[in-house]
């Protein structure tokens, strides 16, 4: 990771507690820090309840965080409001998990895709609006016959393409994709991932790719963060995290990925994880073990991790 690359998103010591002070208090995000560089795909993995979706939503200001700060292109999001917030919402967009639930069933595709254009008043005439929508559908591999149809007339993969076109309409710099393929069939998943990769190269987009499908995250991401119980446990390039996982939780998670190879499966050794190490009361912070590869650890643990790696 070269230092001269520009940081687009900086998440600094962010915490978020739901139902604070009540009996059902949940620390959804616990002192999480990471950066997303311009033009990269940052993958966020973790199991359900790990806080990965909450992190995505917090970056989009859908939740207000309690502590820490998030900056987007140098601007702090903690007190952003009014015009600045509207401008920010234009540069950061989201692709949702369930394309069925995230498209309004009573709107035509043309209006769904153009909704962002209308809100931000990005087109001045009906012709320009139509032209722009058509161009967007072209980009995602749909055609103009689809303009006047309703979401229910499409397959799951096509609906997800519509969701992508809608996100791209306002020319965002940054897209958060929260489990964008987990509701799709295997053969369609690859289509959508390839489309997302193509668009990223063409439009110079930055992605935060949130998923529990570890092999897909590895495939699409430049760098990966592993979350568990609201904490970020490990951050590194996707090769580092997959080939040399350091945190015991990451090791356990990786050892559970099924591979389409019977010989590999026969010899699989599943590593169990004992989460009690996270609750022993010791102060842990992200420490760099090898260049660009950070692990949540105490000073002693970090020393051991480093010595194991020469």
């Amino acid at each position: 990771m070269s230092e001269d690359r520009k940081k687009l998103v900086e998440v600094k010591n962010v915490s978020l507690t739901f139902n604070a002070g009540k009996k059902n208090e949940v620390k959804a995000i616990d002192n999480v820090s990471f950066d997303i560089y311009e033009g990269e795909v940052f993958g966020l993995v973790g199991e359900s309840g790990s806080g990965k979706t909450t992190v995505g939503r917090t970056i989009l200001k859908l939740y207000d965080f309690d502590d820490g700060d998030i900056t987007f292109a140098g601007q702090s999001l903690s007190n952003i409001s009014g015009k600045d917030l509207k401008e920010f919402r234009k540069s950061a967009q989201m692709i949702f998990q369930d394309p069925q639930a995230s498209l309004n069933g009573r709107m035509k595709i043309r209006d769904i895709v153009a909704e962002g254009l209308d809100i931000h008043k990005l087109t001045s005439s009906k012709e320009e609006r139509d032209e722009r929508v058509q161009h967007l559908l072209d980009l995602v591999g749909l055609n103009k016959d689809h303009l006047t149809r309703y979401p229910h007339e499409f397959s799951g993969g096509q609906r997800q393409r519509i969701g992508i076109a809608r996100a791209l309409a306002v020319k965002p710099k940054f897209i958060i994709a929260d489990e964008p393929i987990s509701a799709l069939d295997v053969s369609i998943q690859a289509q959508v991932v390839n489309l997302m990769q193509k668009l990223q190269h063409e439009q110079g987009l930055t992605y935060l790719f949130i998923a529990h499908d570890l092999s897909m995250v590895k495939y699409i991401s430049d760098r990966i963060g592993v979350m568990h119980w609201g904490k970020m446990l490990e951050i590194g390039t996707s090769d580092d995290v997959y080939n040399d996982p350091i945190h015991p939780y990451t090791k356990s998670l990786l050892s559970a990925i099924p591979e389409p190879d019977p010989d590999f499966e026969k010899n699989r050794i599943h590593v169990d994880y004992d989460p009690s190490m996270e609750q022993d009361g010791q102060e842990r912070q992200m420490r760099e073990i090898t260049p660009g590869h950070f692990v949540l650890s105490t000073e002693e643990e970090a020393a051991i991790y480093r010595s194991e790696r020469g």
């Binding site: 591979e259 190879d261 019977p262 499966e265």
Partner: protein, 347 residues
């Protein structure tokens, strides 16, 4: 080792009458299931894998028409009346459902839900049945089962609930377990636990499992044999090694290539173009032809028969016909073939 065949499905066809017309959900499906084996049925939504299992459980909707034979212990299941099904369903053939949240009754204690099939099929007292339920809870790895037998589903996590669903399926000692995407709703680490639990149980009870999934990674670890379904037909069937290392049907190639492994390099993921066909009007020839980059002219005109590759391996693709031209499959498939050849030499 040839084992006893316990289930034999012959020329099964299932159609549904709908307002839009007749949906041909299952078209001429043949397969067998042997005692103690795990047969995985792989396919996308709409391939007919779930209809197959529902047919085997006698759970199809009223608008379904069935033809063909389902031989089980000398009986043809396709001819059973509803009252005859009651003795088979849950007792001889049991099902593990996908979503443990919706397949458990939220208003009944878990212990009672496990005991219910035992009471129903064995006519024993409630106390005895609950005793058996407790054993089953221990067997599926629920910690401190005694304390939790009166719990309700909402008190449990997804993984624990799926264990309860498995315990219910096991309650009447079924010969055949049908698992319909049993781990799709679970996290990977929990999935690994449930899969190893299912393997252990199979070894103890020597039951046969039909495992329905779209996850080829899970198939590689669980199955003895694999059947790949597309548009209501089985397009390839073989041992797990044959299907993963010597795949013959272009659809199987596409499935294997569209799932990245942790070793797939960026930019090399191949997707299958297009979408599955509409089963209201299935295509004339090979249903996969329109999405198949290797399709021959004949694929659009005539349905390919099952070509035999080995004693246990069959694939329905015209590429296996002796008149078919030589083609080169995708690089990732060639790699699998190489592995197959080197394995063959070792043998």
């Amino acid at each position: 080792m040839k084992r006893e065949t316990i289930l034999n499905v012959e020329n099964l066809n299932v159609t549904f009458q709908t307002y839009a017309g007749e949906v041909k959900a299952i078209r001429d499906v043949n397969f067998t299931l042997e005692k103690g084996e795990t047969l995985a049925i792989v396919g996308e939504s709409g391939s007919g894998k779930s209809v197959t299992t529902r047919t085997l459980m006698g759970l199809n909707a009223k608008n379904a028409n069935l033809s063909g034979r389902i031989q089980y212990k000398g009986k043809d299941l396709s001819q059973l009346s509803e009252s005859e099904w009651v003795n088979i369903r849950g007792n001889e053939i049991a099902m593990i459902f996908q979503d443990p949240m919706t397949s458990l009754d939220p208003t009944m204690s878990i212990g009672m839900q496990i005991a219910e099939p035992i009471i129903l099929h064995e006519k024993i007292s409630k106390a005895e049945a609950l005793e058996r339920a407790l054993d089953l809870m221990k067997k599926v790895g629920i910690p401190n089962a005694e304390e939790h037998i009166k719990d309700y589903p909402h008190q449990w996590s997804g993984g624990m609930r799926q264990r309860a669903v498995i315990a219910i399926a096991l309650a009447a000692n079924p010969e055949i377990l049908i698992a319909d995407e049993p781990t799709t709703a679970l996290d990977v680490t929990i999935q690994a636990q449930i899969l190893s639990l299912m393997k252990d149980i199979q070894q103890q009870t020597d039951s046969s499992i039909i495992f329905i999934t779209h996850d080829l990674g899970v198939v590689a670890g669980m199955a003895d044999r694999v059947a790949v379904m597309y548009a209501g037909k089985i397009v390839e069937v073989g041992t797990v090694e044959e299907v993963f290392y010597n795949p013959q049907h272009p659809y199987t190639w596409g499935l294997l290539n569209s799932m990245p492994t942790t070793e797939t390099e960026s930019g090399s993921l191949e997707s299958i173009p297009g979408t599955p066909p509409d089963l209201l009007n299935p295509p004339v020839g090979d249903a996969f032809a329109a999405r198949n980059t290797f399709a021959l002219d004949i694929d659009f005109e005539e349905q390919p028969p099952m070509f035999q590759v080995s004693d246990s391996h069959f694939a329905a693709t015209w590429l296996l016909d002796e008149r078919a031209p030589e083609i080169t499959p995708p690089a990732a498939i060639l790699k699998r073939w190489e592995k197959w050849n080197s394995k063959k030499e070792k043998r």
